[in-house]
Symmetry: C2
Subunit: 811 residues, 2 copies
């Protein structure tokens, strides 16, 4: 029987989108200011649209190519994936692009309105800028949940007639579990589409924003000696566009991808829980409670985020950074608290009170739904704590930053060593936090627990994105104030928002890494279940070799991204120099710089330079499978393990390099900023313009591509790698019923014999297990002691027999 | 029957040591020059001895503490390791220290003799400096092989009465295989002792040399404006001592440790080959040919290295770098070629023509001895190619260096980004090379093949070290020439040697990484056999969590080492400044600097700062086991897998960070050096003193701790981690016969059923397997087809039965 709950997440997503539309029209109704402001804002808007347009043109080609490849995969022998994965893929790409498009449009419309609002008061400026962020956050989260759940509903009817019963697929009878697996394999296309767009948005956006930034600074600030955001600088519009392209659209696409992938992975593992419980459960949700739960959490999370965003406000016009940060914190903490409550309600309501889950090497265990709830708490804890850890290593006035400041006095070399070391050391608490979270959530509820921990953490995505997007909006608002030569207090107000925005940008990156790490692990677990292998054994040399190769990829990817920024920035430098040289009166303000040319250069460079990292990311997993097929044509299990080893290598190394690069970059940035207010070095107050400050500026130059290009790209790299693995998995898979008929195999039933007394050392336990063609297993257990011999026989599916053997073992 | 071959490697080692003594007395007989030269050389010698003395004092405490801990381990319940592991450990530490001591003494005696020889001719200078290097190389290799083989001979008689037969241990009857395992577990103590000393020598030495170097440069060159190696600089002696402490003693201890560990791991895996073949083989080597083979290769390698060193000479006094490099290459390539021939002879002579080896997931396979030979070729190939790869990314005039030089024109920031990116990209070919080598040598001959690949590569250790040590000796010789104000042509001659030495230093680092990587993999494989687990499944979340933690350790270790250099260098800066301020006439050359004070500061700082990285390295594996025992008191298998996951994480990440840091550091160094001859930037010749050069100097400052401290330390970190795992392994082990008696368990016998025709889909294969208390296994295989039923019974040890089942499967 179908449950109404299958529709609820989609409905909640629509509610979120409706709220977003209302908020959006409120923001757009705000006063966009007068002449010059409007003009500049228009330039930024046009620049952003120009980038999007060029990007979409390229992406259309990519989507067509990838669709053909995906379609080809479904025709491979042994593949169970349905051709409709292509539709899911295209929609995933389109939805992700739509979300990015919408976010960037609202951000570029909100910036000037924030500037105008800042002319009246700070609370109003916060309201407008955070309003824009809210639109962005709800748009991304709403589209993510709506897209995924709508496709699930559609596929559930298409593949399973909306019921948990066995049925025909490709002319074979499949169990409900198998049909659901095929459904979810196909649904993975949506996630793959979203993440592919994210790759280009993050990497392309990262290259764009830094090329424009570095180019504008090198010629404008250093060579021509004009201040930041000066309208005479031809690259200044590109720079402001970059903030939106990189920080708004890039981050949005990143979290869109994480959100979808996390929920998907949790659904896959939910299906596995049902399988472990014997292939069907009786509940009020049509027997698919564990599969619906992650979607329900995501849906409720949207409503919670709406509540959270409503709490973000200040009333005092003289408020400082602390109050603004405090307002954001209230919203954030309330959302997290409400999510915990929602998880409790949903988990205890939707899951069976006790579930059976298989733990590799430990056998089957009874897991209560409360333990799943504890796993979600682990996820919420990680999401909250990771921000503090990031804040410690990158925050103004914190010990590591002060140490870097001190080291700046002996030159750029020591500043850079200190920054690198800070980033490297910051991996210590971060990795321990992640490792503990993996272990704890797994100990509570297996990999389903890990996936639900990620789901709970991601539930407040809309809120996180709102906080995140408000930063670049405020940054832009300040730029517009500067370029429009507005009164000083306007810039002061936007500066307060911008300063808070810098902190939230750093902590937001921490959240994005944490989400990427947990998402990848959940996908990794889903991968193993899709392929039907019973583990990834790194004691097999080919698997170990792939672990090495996987570990290397993030390092090389980062290097490529960094070099790309360098190349793109040089293009920009030459163009700005040319304009200064050739346009008469440009420095006097009488000649008009050709902003569009600079926007065009950044756009082209970003699109050109993201190709190689993209090929690396997508090509390597495919190459490994092809190589594996070449060397081991008959051993899909080993190839699946090799690909799994590669995925693990990319994930472990990718997380490390993400943390290292983001935090080193953030630390250098704030070490440089520390000089603005003045710092005490060797007993002397030191300010901007000092040699120590120059050293710190050099450090920041190194940190820019770290924190804005290569570091954040790691998130996409690890998620996309795991997703590609997941889509390939069915080809290597052993869950296919057809394969079972062809291979009659000895079943391994692992039972740890009860440790006998020392005197019983002659006790023998004999287990005989048989799997027949129809998948049924018969196990005969013979116990021989000194005095007697007894025989017990268990029959049923493999899962049932294992469960019975477990129970027998307990006796 | 005992074979004479057991004594041959030890005899060859003694031959090597005798040759070393002769060479040593020849070097010492060379003219040490006159007054000032002798005095300076004496200072360096004293400084080096002072460091060694202080270091040994600390190490004595460490060895005592570690011995107690090791002794305690042997008393743990379930541990099979014999108490004599403590003796092996102490001797390993003493031999390693002895080798380092000897190497450093000869290096500090050879430097001044090289200077003196350079007054007559370049060929003579090369002869002397390379003679010193040869003494160092043969001393290290000779002591390593002698120590390991002597202990093996002793233990073979002590544990097994010099025979491959079963025997009593701790009152239990053990098979010969088990006794050999216990023997090798105990022998691992020797390797652990050697590697522990290497940790302190490498890390301490690395900190020492860079603290002195950076301190001397910052105050001397930058603040006081006096040239490098100026005798008025109080830190200049410490700087020259540092070259010996870091590059000679550190590298020597590193390769000593690799050499011993590689041979040990290959022996462990050789024992496993015998086990896979049913527990005994009949050969002309007392049934232990596969175990003796790695020792034989090591022994013959010493003789080959002697031949190789004899070929290194030039005759032309006007020779340039290319000719000197060519002479070294001749020696190196001939050694590698001879080693290939020796491997062919030894492998085909000492191994059974065909061996059975178990491949996890693929079952037993017949491996011919020729395949083992191919595996050794893989090792030799890696050793040769890794140098070229390193040379490409760090060599003067190569593309990556030229790119960094170009980027220097836009400032230190772009120089540093380019250097970082170069180091990062260099992981691409390096990791692909390693991964292919692992895969290929494993495909040829399993993990025994991997270990023998490493053994073959390490066979020419003496030659590699000779090439390596000659660099810092020449560097020192140049320093002495400068400080003694000798004629210009002397310095020119030593500069040629020094320049070649810089190249060999970079390629030597490549060799050291490759050796560490392969050694660690061999140890990793040995670990799995010691613990008796059948793999490391990263799909178990606790194992995956430890993979993450392991991956993080090298990053944090590197950061600690880098910070240590910073702190120690600041101590040095303050001391040099103090002396310049307080000692009258120091700048005029009338006052005498207090060299000893600077030596003392470097010494103290190095010893103090190496504590934390040391604790991190040694403490974490122990902490993981303790944590595992706490959470899973009954599941040693899982704890062993967790520790294995940690080891894999450390190895993968450690290799990446070693390659990244060494190559980035080498690249920056040579980018800076490029300015000495002048470089073309944007069409203009640019020299020393230009802004671009200053930017390159900043890059080199960052690179110094990368390439001389944290980068090379990675080798020790990964090897020591795997060795500690190996020593802990027996506690977690399942190979213990006693444990078998206590746990009567169902044996998993994995058999892939032959794929039946589609029509035979009703065929059933039933396997019933029983393991009894005495370790014997009885397997009954019932085959039921549509028409008939047949039964076959196999009995014997687990390995035998598996082999028979494999054979059955083939039918």
């Amino acid at each position: 029987m179908e449950s109404i709950m299958i529709y609820v997440p989609a409905i909640l997503a629509v509610v979120g989108l409706l709220f977003m539309v209302i908020k959006r029209s409120w923001v757009l109704k705000q006063d966009p200011g007068d002449g010059k402001m409007k003009e500049i804002s228009e330039y930024i808007y046009e620049g952003a649209l120009a980038f999007l347009k060029a990007e979409y043109k390229l992406l259309t080609l990519f989507v067509i190519g990838a669709s053909i490849a995906l379609a080809a995969i479904t025709f491979l022998p042994g593949a169970t994936t349905h051709l409709s994965i292509v539709i899911a893929f295209v929609f995933g790409a389109v939805f992700s692009a739509l979300a990015g498009n919408m976010g960037m449009k609202i951000a570029t419309k909100t910036n000037v309105r924030t500037t105008q609002a800042a002319r009246t008061s700070l609370p109003q400026a916060l309201k407008v800028s955070f309003g824009g962020g809210t639109v962005m956050g709800l748009g991304v989260a709403g589209l993510a949940v709506l897209g995924l759940t709508a496709f699930f509903i559609f596929f559930f009817h298409f593949f399973m007639n909306g019921q948990w019963v066995e049925g025909l697929y490709n002319g074979e009878t499949r169990t409900a579990n198998e049909l659901m697996t095929i459904l979810l394999e196909t649904l993975a296309g949506f996630s793959l589409g979203a993440e592919s767009i994210a790759l280009f948005a993050r990497v392309g956006g990262g290259i764009y924003t830094k090329a424009a930034d570095v180019g504008a600074d090198l010629v404008g600030k250093v060579e021509a000696g004009i201040p930041e955001d000066d309208p005479r600088n031809p690259a200044t519009i590109a720079d402001n566009v970059g903030d939106n392209v990189g920080d708004v659209a890039g981050m949005g696409a990143d979290l869109f991808g994480s959100y979808v992938a996390t929920v998907l992975a949790a659904m896959v593992l939910g299906n596995y829980v049902i399988k472990d419980m014997g292939g069907s459960i009786a509940d009020a949700f049509g027997g698919i409670g564990p599969i619906l739960l992650p979607m329900a959490i995501a849906g409720v999370g949207i409503i919670i985020s709406i509540i959270g965003t409503m709490l973000v406000k200040i009333s005092n016009n003289d408020a400082k950074e602390a109050q603004v940060q405090g307002a954001l914190n209230v919203g954030n903490w309330v959302s997290i608290g409400l999510t915990a409550v929602a998880c409790y309600v949903l988990v205890t309501w939707m899951l069976p009170a006790t579930m059976k889950m298989k733990f590799y090497g430990e056998g089957y265990m009874d897991i209560s739904s409360m333990r799943v709830f504890y796993a979600t708490l682990v996820g919420l804890f990680v999401g909250a704590v990771i921000s503090s850890v990031t804040e410690y290593y990158t925050g103004l006035g914190k010990k590591p930053i002060l140490a870097i400041v001190q080291k700046s006095s002996t030159g750029a070399g020591t500043n850079i060593i200190a920054g690198l070391a800070t980033g490297m050391i910051s991996t210590f608490p971060t990795v321990l936090l992640f490792a503990s979270a993996i272990w704890a959530s797994y100990a509570f509820a297996g990999f389903y627990g890990v996936a639900l921990a990620a789901s709970a953490m991601m539930a407040t995505t809309a809120m996180q994105l709102a906080i995140d997007a408000f930063g670049p909006i405020s940054d832009n608002a300040g730029g517009i104030a500067e370029m429009s030569e507005l009164p000083k207090e306007v810039r002061q107000r936007t500066d307060i928002l911008d300063s808070v925005g810098n902190t939230t940008a750093a902590t937001g990156k921490g959240f994005a890494i944490a989400s990427a790490a947990l998402t990848s692990l959940a996908l990794f677990a889903a991968y193993v279940t899709f392929t039907g292998i019973d583990g990834i054994n790194i004691f097999k040399a080919p698997v170990l070799a792939m672990l090495f190769v996987g570990g290397m990829i993030p390092v090389v990817f980062s290097a490529l991204a960094m070099n790309s920024v360098g190349k793109a920035a040089m293009d920009m430098v030459y163009e700005v120099r040319r304009q200064f040289r050739e346009i008469p009166g440009i420095m006097e303000g009488t000649g008009k710089p050709e902003y569009a040319k600079c926007v065009d250069i950044s756009t082209k460079a970003a699109l050109r330079e993201m190709m190689l990292p993209g090929i690396l990311t997508i090509g390597f997993p495919i190459a490994i499978v092809l190589l594996g097929k070449l060397v081991y044509p008959e051993n899909n299990q080993l190839i699946a393990e090799m690909l799994g080893g590669y995925m693990a290598g990319v994930t472990v190394s990718g997380v490390l390099w993400a943390v290292f690069q983001n935090n080193a970059g953030g630390a250098w940035d704030n070490a440089k900023k520390s000089f603005e207010a003045g710092v005490m070095i060797n007993g002397e107050m030191t300010y901007k313009g000092s040699d120590a400050h120059k050293a710190a500026v050099t450090g920041d130059t190194v940190g820019d591509p770290f924190k804005d290009t290569s570091g954040p790209s790691m998130n996409i790299l690890i998620k996309l790698t795991c997703l590609i693995g997941l889509v390939i998995a069915p080809i290597l898979g052993g869950h296919d019923a057809k394969a079972v008929v062809q291979e009659v195999e000895a079943v391994e039933v692992v039972v740890e014999a009860p440790a006998p007394e020392v005197k019983q050392s002659t006790k023998e336990i004999r287990i005989e297990s048989v799997k027949s063609a129809d998948g049924k297993v018969k196990a005969t257990v013979t116990t021989v002691t000194d005095s007697a011999e007894s025989v017990e026989v268990f029959e049923g599916t493999e899962a049932e027999v294992n469960a019975k053997l477990e129970a027998f073992k307990k006796k």
